[in-house]
Symmetry: C2
Subunit: 431 residues, 2 copies
């Protein structure tokens, strides 16, 4: 069976891009990944590793034999080292740097000036750079030799490397051969500052409808370019991160992370949830006396908490999306609150009536029906308010609302739900 | 204050792209959108509408005066009509078609051969198309005249319009002027079939690392191109759809959809949730007798349900991501189950011990501590199993697991949690 799998893998290597091979290796249990790795051609290894998630990559790198690691270090350029540096010891990074030429080393060092959330870290250098006095004929010659993805333009910089503008292949083709390129310069292109957050940079390139944009440092010096392909990767990773964060997981999480480490990683989220569940339980505990007299309250109380949780998460999700797109601001917060509370009033009344009626039929008590209806209305209202306010406050505090928004919201709707329902029950159903 | 807002808006119109103006209008309450609309220059209106979400767009289109609608229809080409058709009556679509030239009309009709989830619907026609015998000099002349985004290549088709290959600007620049372009043909580019699902097409273009790919119908005829920019939009919309679906919302949902319609839309999701909450309540109701004797069970039962829900949603989220990336298949399902159950055993035991100990301290009953610990272990195990199986079954049934996965999972963990906890309580705690 092992041999058969190797054959399937070798066929895949023939047919797939490095990025697809990375996904394929990630989808296999760790032992199989390690068994197939030696069958991967040497020249593809760096690209495949770069395409994998940090954790999945680590399952291979951590067991590499010294000779193999040695070869890998030989094959690293600045861009791949930037990606893999997280997985390598400082010593190995230094070794890789020592084997690069000085240009690559400079590029690596430049990238380290920016953090993981800034576009300057991920700049690529596949660009044709020209001085303003270069002739059109020479520029065309250079672009012709240059066979890279998305290269239909060259960047023009002055002697200090400061960005002046770009010339497109189109403009060059229309100009006389001995014109200096500065005469065909398009200086309307606005470079992306290297300290721009990656997601903002992706937005910029999407809205600009360009295949590439220049990236400059704070002195206006050209560092390299950002391609629309990179923008696409950034968008994908951002949203995957949001989806994973909603369950307390990391975007880099490995599908087949070893059980022990996986459990450890997830324990934290379970622990946080336990604290909020204990808070809810404590709230219920305040009403032990009532519960022992009216058991129906215990039967019905999860309904109140859950309806509040669902209504709140609808508002929360809408607001989180709006925040991410810059569509929710202090300027329209009040109008949004008003609208969400309007929705909550309508749905609160409708579902309170339905649940109240079900309760009366089930338990034959009009008072109990009234109590649960009141609690539902209040909890759905509070949920809507929290759904707007919680993510806005988190955003203000620079905490990602996708990560902690729903925990906080659920805590609010659980505690408020149990408290109002059991509180109203204590007031109206006892004695 | 109104005038000031108009001035801010006019400044924005000067500075922003149509796609950004669309976002801006969406972020305003409906009445303000409608007040600002007349200040938007006519030539920008179609692009801004196209950039907006279906529902937000409708808040403007539904109140357009006949004369304004008339002008809008004049400005529509095939691509913008494809986007706006959902918002227009059949009659208006026919009027718009009648005003187009026959080429645009053909493009529109071709696009309607494919549904909203197929890339053929969104093909763009900004391409230079050449016959195989065209000379290099003529091809260069055409490309030079062509000033569009991402045009650094031309497509070559035979007399019947069947795709033969592409020629890049680079290849043309290196060839002799009177060579026929068929000699510089790159026939390694694989066109995207027009019935390909949009998300798959976006993956293709990302992995191919190309700025554009040709799209062909089933007869191999060239329909047009897909750009990487479109791929980026598709990816963004897909993930937004997933995030919104997790709260039962639509990706096209308007932040400021009128209260009445918004409430109606969300009511369905609340209703579905109510059914699952009633099921949970019914489960609790089976143990009324027990609850009336041991009230502590009522206090603690939300903890059991909630720990199961959280553990399950972690597994669910990981599996949904894997399914979306094609990394979870029947081939590795068993290995994934084994791993997730391993994680559940570890975390189940750890948290059962913690919660058991808290319970003993809180209520002074070792038996109660044992009962809750047992229920936690069982519920976390069931949650892990459901977290793998539920999304895989939904995917098999072609139901989006991002939409219904978490409702089903929570129902399982609530019912199992309440049942095992109260069941164990009945068995071991009653006099």
């Amino acid at each position: 069976e092992g041999e058969e799998q190797v054959q399937v893998f070798l066929d895949a290597v023939e047919q797939l891009e490095a990025s697809e091979l990375g996904l394929l290796l990630e989808s296999l249990p760790v032992s199989e990944r390690r068994a197939l790795w030696p069958h991967l051609p040497h020249e593809a290894r760096v690209d495949v590793l770069v395409a994998m998630r940090v954790e999945a990559r680590d399952t291979l790198l951590s067991v590499l034999e010294p000779a193999q690691m040695d070869q890998l270090l030989d094959d690293l350029d600045a861009e791949s080292l930037i990606e893999l540096a997280d997985n390598l010891s400082e010593e190995l990074v230094d070794q890789a740097l020592a084997r690069m030429d000085s240009q690559q080393r400079t590029w690596y060092r430049e990238s380290q000036e920016y953090d993981e959330e800034q576009i300057g870290r991920y700049v690529d250098h596949d660009v044709v750079v020209l001085p303003p006095n270069a002739r059109v004929a020479a520029a065309l010659r250079m672009l012709r030799r240059y066979q890279s993805a998305f290269t239909d333009r060259a960047y023009v910089v002055n002697r200090k490397g400061v960005w002046l503008g770009e010339v497109t292949l189109h403009a060059l083709l229309q100009a006389e051969p001995d014109t200096p390129v500065r005469h065909c310069l398009d200086d309307e292109v606005v470079p992306i500052p290297a300290d721009t957050p990656v997601l903002e940079a992706a937005d910029r390139i999407e809205h600009a409808d360009m295949s590439m944009l220049p990236v400059t440092d704070e002195g206006g010096r050209l560092l390299g370019r950002m391609t629309v392909r990179l923008g696409m990767e950034i968008v994908r990773e951002h949203y995957e991160g949001q989806l994973m964060a909603s369950a307390g997981l990391d975007e880099e999480a490995d599908l087949f992370l070893p059980v022990w480490r996986s459990a450890k990683r997830r324990a934290l989220w379970l622990g946080i949830n336990l604290l909020t569940a204990l808070l809810a339980a404590w709230t219920i505990g305040l009403f032990e006396q009532t519960l022992s007299q009216v058991v129906a309250l215990a039967v019905l109380m999860p309904i109140v908490a859950s309806m509040g949780g669902i209504a709140g998460s609808q508002t929360l999700t809408l607001i989180i999306r709006g925040l991410a797109l810059g569509q929710v601001t202090p300027g329209n917060a009040l109008a949004l609150c008003r609208k969400e509370i309007g929705v909550a009033v309508l749905n609160g009344i409708v579902w309170a009536a339905v649940i109240g009626a079900v309760t009366v039929l089930w338990f034959g008590s009009q008072a109990l029906g009234g109590v649960i209806a009141g609690a539902i209305v209040i909890n759905i209202l509070v949920a809507a308010l929290a759904g707007v306010v919680v993510p806005m406050v988190l955003d203000k505090l620079e905490i990602d609302p996708a990560l902690s928004g729903s925990v906080i919201l659920t805590t609010v709707t659980d505690v408020v739900g149990f408290f109002t329902f059991l509180g109203l029950g204590t007031a109206f159903l006892l004695g």
